[in-house]
């Protein structure tokens, strides 16, 4: 809350400062200072699967397969890969790649990585997820890998974009060894110099890098979690680039002649989940006069569609998000893999919503409580307020209850809510992850529905998802996933609101390629020509 208040006050405080901002740092110097918005928890690339950790790690370590700014796959330490049959994959490794200590990169390093990644002690969020499907891996020669999976697993190449490859001698390295720098031997464009927890990470250019050389001889990442302070650090020239530009300061920064802004539609969708699991007595559904309601109207697809129609997404994007979002009609923006071209955002149609409610047998509506986090997503509390008002206007009297995310997610996973607002970032960059996690029928054995807090269930959709997940042909799988997305939206398993836009701001004279996966990469920052 303090952060948000501070951001608001910052706008007021900086109104008089907007005139004439001095430029201290010259963009020509070869040191780049970047402010990150979230603290890192470790340097160990396999300890904690957390976006800020992974982002930094990818400067020093590399993956077999990398992703471009739209999260499409491109060769990394592997030059090529192919499925030999349904359960066998062959990877050809890049030759002539040198580790920071001078030794040569070979298949043995990958084997060591696969051994260590799932077994890091005390890991709060492990990388086992990505290695587990591989039941056997062999290296017929130093630059070839053959991986076997138990069943057809088309996501294997995507999994490989998440596992950072470490040096073979570090197979038994402890998390502390990475934090101290001892084990920070990678193949990436930067070498590790220093890590001060909660403060900064310093990297230096790797002059023997196999790929394009970074423009900076030295890079400092500073962790400035307070968004107003991050903007101030940019304005004062203490840092040359910041990530996660607060929406409130966006317009002012965009107008500043000394600064540039880059933004990209992210892989995170903000959505509503409705309790469509309980047949009756959903905890926060009440009749119009506030009495407990036995029937659960949220099970009726017409009611869920009415909810979707009653929301003016353009207004939320324009007013609440200050245009730093894009109205959503499916799980991911159309630029991503597995999305449908036939799913524009639902049109704002309060009359249509009232009619659907009447058809479903609720001409006078009912009462509902919307639960939302208040410190997790950009403007989450304000979005929830807007949604509650839109619903109240069509007759669903909606109360709002917000709470810190640490309480929200625990209660949500215990199914204590009837109607909730949440977000989902598809780290893999395709629709398989939200389809499986958000609208797949909850089933721990199959790993489906792990974040399905509305317990939406459709046997038809489950079958479509499962079929897609065994299709190795990318084009066919893309079409299957698109069809599954269409079905999920037709049945309104979730109500999509918008895709968040991530924004970076930098001093004039720096060019940056904004990314969908929210990573901030120093090697993608170059002096503008």
């Amino acid at each position: 809350m303090i952060r948000r208040l501070a951001a608001r006050l910052f706008v007021a405080a900086s109104a008089f400062a907007a005139a004439g901002v001095p430029l201290h740092a010259s963009a020509q110097s070869t040191e780049l200072v970047i402010a990150l918005s979230a603290p890192l928890s470790s340097m160990d690339p396999h300890f904690h699967n957390l976006t800020p950790n992974n982002g930094l790690s990818k400067h020093v370590f590399e993956n077999l397969i990398q992703t471009d700014e739209f999260q499409n796959l491109r060769p990394g330490l592997a030059e090529s890969w192919k499925a030999v049959n349904d359960t066998t994959w062959e990877f050809k490794l890049r030759r002539g790649v040198k580790w920071h200590d001078g030794s040569e990169f070979t298949a043995e390093d990958v084997l060591a990585t696969f051994k260590r990644a799932p077994e890091v002690p005390n890991s709060p969020a492990s990388f086992a997820l990505f290695v587990k499907p591989i039941i056997d891996v062999k290296a017929p020669d130093p630059h070839t890998l053959v991986m076997k999976t138990a069943a057809a697993h088309p996501l294997l190449p995507r999994d490989m974009t998440s596992v950072q490859i470490i040096h073979r001698s570090m197979v038994a390295a402890k998390t502390e060894d990475f934090n101290s720098g001892k084990a920070m031997i990678g193949t990436g464009p930067f070498r590790f110099v220093e890590y001060k927890p909660g403060d900064r990470v310093v990297l230096a250019r790797n002059d023997t890098y196999w790929g394009p050389k970074p423009a900076w001889s030295r890079v400092q990442f500073r962790m400035i979690t307070n968004s107003a302070a991050r903007v101030a650090a940019l304005l004062s020239g203490d840092v040359q680039m910041i990530e996660n530009v607060p929406t409130a300061d966006m317009e002012k920064i965009a107008r500043d002649p000394n600064l540039t802004v880059k933004s990209a539609v992210s892989n995170r969708i903000i959505y509503l989940h409705m309790d469509s699991g309980r047949e009756k007595n959903s905890p926060f559904v009440r009749t119009k006069d506030g009495k407990p309601m036995e029937a659960n109207p949220l099970r009726d697809v017409r009611v869920r569609r009415a909810i979707s129609k009653s929301i003016n997404r353009d207004a939320i994007v324009e007013r609440v998000m200050e245009k730093q979002a894009v109205p959503a009609g499916q799980f991911l923006a159309e630029t991503f893999f597995g999305t449908s071209k036939k799913l524009p955002p639902e049109k704002f149609d309060p009359e249509g919503a009232k009619k659907l409610l009447a058809d479903a047998g609720y001409p006078n509506g009912f009462q509902l409580t919307l639960h939302a986090p208040n410190n997790r997503y950009v403007n989450d509390e304000k979005i929830a307020q807007a949604v509650a008002q839109f619903l109240t206007r069509v007759g669903i009297d909606t109360k709002l209850e917000t709470m810190p995310s640490n309480i929200f997610f625990s209660r949500g996973s215990k199914l204590e809510f009837s109607f909730l607002l949440a977000g989902w970032g598809s780290e893999s960059g395709d629709t398989s992850s939200p389809l499986r996690a958000l609208v797949g029928t909850f089933d721990t054995a199959q790993g489906l529905g792990s974040a399905n807090r509305g317990r939406f269930s459709s046997a038809g959709l489950d079958a479509m998802i499962t079929t897609a997940m065994t299709q190795l042909d990318d084009t066919k799988r893309g079409m299957l996933l698109a069809a599954a997305s269409e079905k999920a939206m037709a049945e309104q398993g979730i109500v999509p609101l918008h895709y968040e836009v991530s924004a970076w701001a930098a001093r004039k004279g720096l060019a940056y390629q904004a990314r969908a996966d929210q990573y901030t990469f120093a090697f993608d920052v170059r002096p503008a020509k």
Partner: protein
């Protein structure tokens, strides 16, 4: 004296146990750390693995029992988030917070006491009125707003001082301190001023009130009548007598500056304990929260003890043996 300290120690142990129970129950009620820690893409198997790895699969009383057992041997558990001993995670950041707190208190005392003295001795002067008005502003403005204003003025507009962060450090008695380095001191100045502002106002007002009360007392009149110089009356007789309440307040305030510098630390991106504990609470990193509160409790008790001993030095009438705390 020894009996007094022993009694204090027994009380300390009791307070520590109560604190740890409260934090355990509190975090248990707030939510499930695993929900905060695991990657959202993780399935149930991965959640169960994380729960077991962090020892959260056992019932709460068993977790607490294990904590007590380890705590007796000085191990407060591993941080869920950092995977390192919670105590080390905190102690690593302690010098940053301590140096900021000490610098802030030094600023508050060095400026506050003279201004308070002046305002107390010449209450009708314009200067004194300006000081008092300023002190009201000083403790009624919210810290985070003043902090942002300081950044906007001194870092963005004038460009005299760096906006955020901690500067280079110098190794001193095993601790890495930044205020001994010129550039480091420049980094510390703005957050220290921000932190000092409230304490400064408090000290000004307290000093003034004490001075106003004491100058009317007989011992001051007597000292003057005896023909002592003005400086001696003020510097020795008056100052020594007004110090007693000041020492109490300064002691407790030092404690609160160290323990609760959270707002200032997050605005100035100062890598201290305050920022750590706020993040830890959000992520339900229980070992860090427990260890932090243990350290805080110990620190407050320690400071109180020092304050009590200072009393007896400043005022011979106070005897520690009879003190009831």
């Amino acid at each position: 004296m020894l009996v007094y300290i022993l009694r204090r120690l027994a009380q300390t142990v009791l307070v520590l146990i109560v604190t740890s129970v409260l934090v355990f129950v509190g975090i248990f009620l707030v939510g499930d750390p695993v929900e905060m820690l695991v990657n959202p893409q993780a399935d149930q198997i991965e959640k169960d693995r994380a729960r077991a790895a962090l020892g959260l699969d056992k019932p709460m009383w068993a977790q607490y029992g294990l904590f007590l057992k380890n705590a007796l041997s000085g191990d407060l558990g591993n941080s869920f988030v950092y995977g390192e001993p919670a105590l080390r995670v905190i102690l690593d950041r302690m010098p940053a917070t301590l140096e900021l707190a000490v610098l802030a208190m030094v600023i508050a005392i060095v400026i506050g006491i003279p201004l308070g003295l002046y305002a107390g001795l010449k209450p009708e002067s314009r200067m004194a009125k300006a000081i008092m008005a300023g002190s009201i502003v000083g403790f009624s403005l919210p810290t985070f707003w003043v902090g942002l204003l300081l950044i906007m003025l001194f870092a963005v507009q004038l460009g005299w001082l760096p906006s955020t962060g901690r500067g280079p450090t110098v190794e001193f008695l095993g601790a890495k301190l930044s205020i001994l380095h010129w550039d480091g001191l420049k980094h510390a100045l703005l957050p220290a001023i921000n932190l000092a502002l409230f304490k400064l106002s408090l000290i000004i007002r307290l000093t003034r009130a004490q001075v106003r009360e004491n100058v009317l007392l007989d011992y001051i009149k007597f000292a003057r009548a005896k023909g002592l110089t003005r400086n001696r009356v003020l510097g020795v007789h008056l100052l020594k007598n007004i110090m007693i309440p000041l020492v109490t307040v300064i002691g407790l305030e030092l404690g609160s500056v160290i323990a609760f510098a959270i707002v200032t630390e997050s605005i100035f991106a100062w890598p201290g304990m305050g920022k750590l504990v706020i993040d830890s609470i959000f992520q339900l990193d229980r070992p860090v929260v427990v260890a932090y509160l243990m350290i805080t409790v110990l620190m407050f008790i320690g400071i109180n003890l020092v304050v009590d001993i200072l009393y007896s030095v400043l005022d011979p009438r106070v005897r520690l043996e009879s003190a009831q705390v």
